[in-house]
């Protein structure tokens, strides 16, 4: 497999692909009823807006909430309830609270069906790097490493390439790892890609792009599903 068939500057054709909302929506539709899900700070948290209204999914927040609801409004304001991103959130009917040790016991004990995270890089072997781009300055890690190894599956939601067109789906990560070998699926603006024993496997892609152009924007071989 080589990328020689594509343009030398893959982004010159100006394909944008799916919007962040589209990515969040696609991911949300893949979450079955009854799953326990932790959504990372940022775009992953948008996923909660797109879970179909007739489907009960229980959201966990690492600081001890099981059954997290939407952000508070002025009408529902309660400053004692915050999520992992320290936003004021609501509790759904049926929610429960635990302390930090019990919350991470829940996370690390393999009880979450899914954790959705953003990422800087992901590799074809399931490694990913989302906590810091460099160790030169002092990084903050928070709960990312715990979630990465604790949840039953890690799905990433991320741009397929950097702003200057460099692939973020790679043969090997170049940035400090969050965890080795844990990612099961990646939702990008261009495609949905599974990570299996043989590496990246295409699930679906935006109609704006060809398989070859997608491959050219990807740093490791993409397999078609058998």
């Amino acid at each position: 497999m080589t990328a020689t068939a594509t343009a030398s500057t893959p982004t010159a054709d100006n394909i944008k692909g799916w919007s962040r909302r589209d990515m969040a929506k696609r991911l949300a539709e893949d979450i079955p009823e009854g799953w326990y899900v932790n959504l990372g700070i940022g775009i992953p948290l948008m996923v909660s807006d797109f879970v179909p209204a007739d489907r009960e999914v229980v959201l966990q927040s690492e600081n001890g909430i099981l059954g997290m609801g939407p952000l508070q409004t002025k009408r529902t304001f309660d400053p004692w309830i915050v999520n992992a991103g320290k936003q004021n959130v609501t509790l759904k009917t049926g929610a429960s609270i635990v302390g930090h040790a019990d919350s991470f016991a829940m996370i690390r004990g393999g009880h979450l069906d899914l954790c959705v995270l953003g990422s800087f890089e992901v590799a074809a072997n399931g490694d990913f790097a989302n906590w810091t781009t460099s160790l030169k300055s002092v990084p903050a890690v928070g709960g990312a490493m715990d979630l990465a190894v604790g949840a039953k599956r890690i799905w990433l939601i991320m741009d397929h390439t950097s702003k200057d067109g460099k692939p973020k789906l790679l043969e090997t990560c170049t940035m400090p790892l969050t965890a080795p070998g844990v990612v099961k699926r990646v939702y990008t603006n261009l495609a949905v890609i599974d990570i299996t024993a043989r590496g990246f496997e295409l699930v679906s892609m935006t109609p704006e792009i060809t398989f070859e152009a997608l491959q050219a924007r990807t740093g490791a071989r993409i397999h078609r599903k058998d």
């Binding site: 690492e62 600081n63 001890g64 909430i65 952000l71 508070q72 409004t73 002025k74 009408r75 304001f77 309660d78 400053p79 004692w80 309830i81 915050v82 320290k86 936003q87 004021n88 509790l91 609270i97 635990v98 302390g99 930090h100 040790a101 019990d102 919350s103 991470f104 016991a105 996370i107 690390r108 160790l135 300055s137 002092v138 990084p139 903050a140 890690v141 928070g142 709960g143 990312a144 490493m145 715990d146 990465a148 190894v149 604790g150 400090p176 790892l177 969050t178 965890a179 080795p180």
Partner: protein
């Protein structure tokens, strides 16, 4: 006579904290932070402290940031040192005046829980194969690799609670439970600021989040609500 852990002054609450102590500080974001105890610790004067907390403070005027800014902290153990407003941490750390031990948040919580539970060390998959796990002992159980982590046991814990009685039984309010609950168990001297004092027996036996055995001193600090995290939609 009767057990009475309630003290009426911050001086009494802080009595005996020595230079060189390791101090656990509860809270996550603005919720459940024992800010009045932190101010009292600043007042009390102990220095050369090791602070264990999820964050490394923000701003300069209050809390952990103020304590660090006054040069009283030698070392900080935390998971999220760098965030918007962590200016004092960044100044001191880049100047080589503050040691940092960076710990994954769950490992931090579990190490504290282990300290309270008499577990000197445990294995965890978190941070295996990463920068944070480098140099740590690796061991395989049932085909998966884990690293060894040791317990954190402290001299002092500063805790914020919603309700407390004279035995030191505590209840927290929703997200205020956070690190306060495990930290209360892991120090030789656990000091609590509580929004409400209640009569012994007001907290039902099945409803106590922290049994009084873990608590040494309680001071009544009815400071009200934490600030809103950000402006809210209508």
């Amino acid at each position: 006579m009767a057990i009475n852990k309630i003290v009426s002054s911050f001086a009494d609450a802080m009595a005996g904290i020595k230079d060189g102590s390791t101090v656990l500080i509860g809270g996550f974001g603005a919720v459940g932070q024992p800010n009045h105890l932190l101010d009292a610790l600043t007042e009390q004067g102990a220095k050369d402290l090791t602070i264990v907390a999820n964050n490394a403070g923000s701003g300069r005027e209050t809390g952990i940031a103020r304590l660090m800014d006054m040069g009283r902290v030698r070392r900080i153990v935390c998971s999220f040192p760098r965030s918007a407003g962590s200016v004092v941490f960044e100044e001191l750390h880049s100047a080589g005046k503050l040691e940092l031990e960076l710990v994954a948040q769950g490992t931090l919580a579990e190490r504290i829980r282990a300290g309270g539970a008499g577990i000197p060390a445990f294995y965890t998959a978190t941070a295996y194969g990463t920068y944070i796990g480098e140099g740590k002992e690796v061991r395989e159980f049932k085909g998966r690799k884990y690293i060894l982590e040791e317990a954190i046991k402290a001299d002092v814990a500063l805790v914020e609670a919603w309700q407390a009685d004279r035995w030191g039984n505590l209840r927290y309010r929703t997200s205020g439970r956070n690190f306060n609950q495990p930290m209360a168990t892991a120090a030789d001297l656990t000091i609590v600021q509580s929004q409400h004092l209640v009569e012994l027996g007001d907290l039902g036996p099945d409803d106590i989040h922290t049994p009084g055995i873990y608590v040494d001193r309680v001071i009544h600090v009815p400071y009200g609500d934490p600030p809103a995290a950000a402006p809210l939609a209508d």
